[in-house]
């Protein structure tokens, strides 16, 4: 009891434990980094390591912070809030890993039209609700003239 009171009295003079703060910050940034877009050369096999490295760095920093808080508790603060921050960071880290692999769970689309193949015609409404066909687009209707080519961009939607 006396020892506990002594340590409470000393608490004001203990050093801060910034590794815990940085660790939590990095795990938050790690989660958010999955919303970044990387614009690269087409077909280039890019593995976005940064989305894994940032949250992993967060965990390393939290580990250092916790080791200080518990191993050198006479010097460093952070036993209680460091534990809470670490629990939160673990959840954020799990979220980052899920987000990381979720972003890579794209279907293979083996049956998609290939280079050299003829694209089957379609008719779909434009933003005004007017039906537009591929043939119309190729012939230049609703545009400045007949285009040399169309760049069809299929995107995920739900912005």
């Amino acid at each position: 009891m006396a020892g506990q009171q002594l340590s409470l009295a000393e608490a004001g003079r203990k050093r801060g434990n910034s590794a815990l703060w940085w660790g939590l910050l990095f795990t938050v940034l790690g989660l958010l980094s999955n919303f970044l877009y990387f614009v690269v050369k087409a077909g280039q096999r890019t593995f976005p390591w940064i989305n894994l490295i940032v949250p992993a760095l967060g965990l390393v920093l939290l580990f250092i912070g916790l080791k200080r808080a518990f191993g050198q508790s006479q010097i460093y603060r952070g036993k209680i809030w460091g534990s809470i921050a670490s629990a939160l960071a673990l959840l954020l880290f799990a979220g980052s890993i899920w987000g990381f692999f979720h972003a890579r769970a794209v279907p293979r689309s083996a049956g998609a039209p290939q280079v050299g193949q003829h694209l089957p015609d379609f008719t779909l409404p434009d933003t005004g609700g007017q039906p537009v066909s591929l043939a119309q687009l190729l012939s230049g209707i609703g545009g400045p003239g007949q285009p040399k080519a169309l760049l069809l961009i299929f995107y995920r939607g739900y912005w």
């Binding site: 990387f38 050369k41 591929l134």
Partner: protein, 108 residues
């Protein structure tokens, strides 16, 4: 698509017409175009009919488990033949607009 909008004059000068397609309704697409300043054609495939026919369907890939399109880009010439295409393996990774422009320049 931001990159395409930014380079739109170059695409148009090259005779390339960009067309964006998703499961978003015409209203949603109209709002997106207005907000993001997209001035090229946007088409809606809410039932994912064309997306499914082209094998681009990402089952349950959207919010709330909705079926959406996977990201994919095609350059289609006047005869309707695919001349260039790109299928990303990661939704965070997209092709550069200048590269699509370079691919378009190879089409006569």
């Amino acid at each position: 698509m931001r990159g395409v909008q930014k380079d739109l004059p170059e695409f148009q000068a090259e005779g390339i017409r960009p067309v964006a397609i998703s499961v978003d309704s015409p209203d949603v697409s109209a709002t997106l175009c207005q907000k993001a300043g997209y001035s090229f054609t946007f088409l809606s495939d809410p039932k994912a009919e064309v997306i499914r026919r082209y094998d681009l369907l990402h089952v349950g890939g959207g919010p709330g488990g909705h079926d959406i399109s996977r990201p994919a880009e095609f350059l289609v010439d006047r005869s309707g033949t695919v001349r260039w295409e790109n299928f990303t393996e990661d939704v965070r990774i997209r092709p550069r607009a200048d590269e699509m422009l370079a691919a378009a320049r190879n089409i006569q």
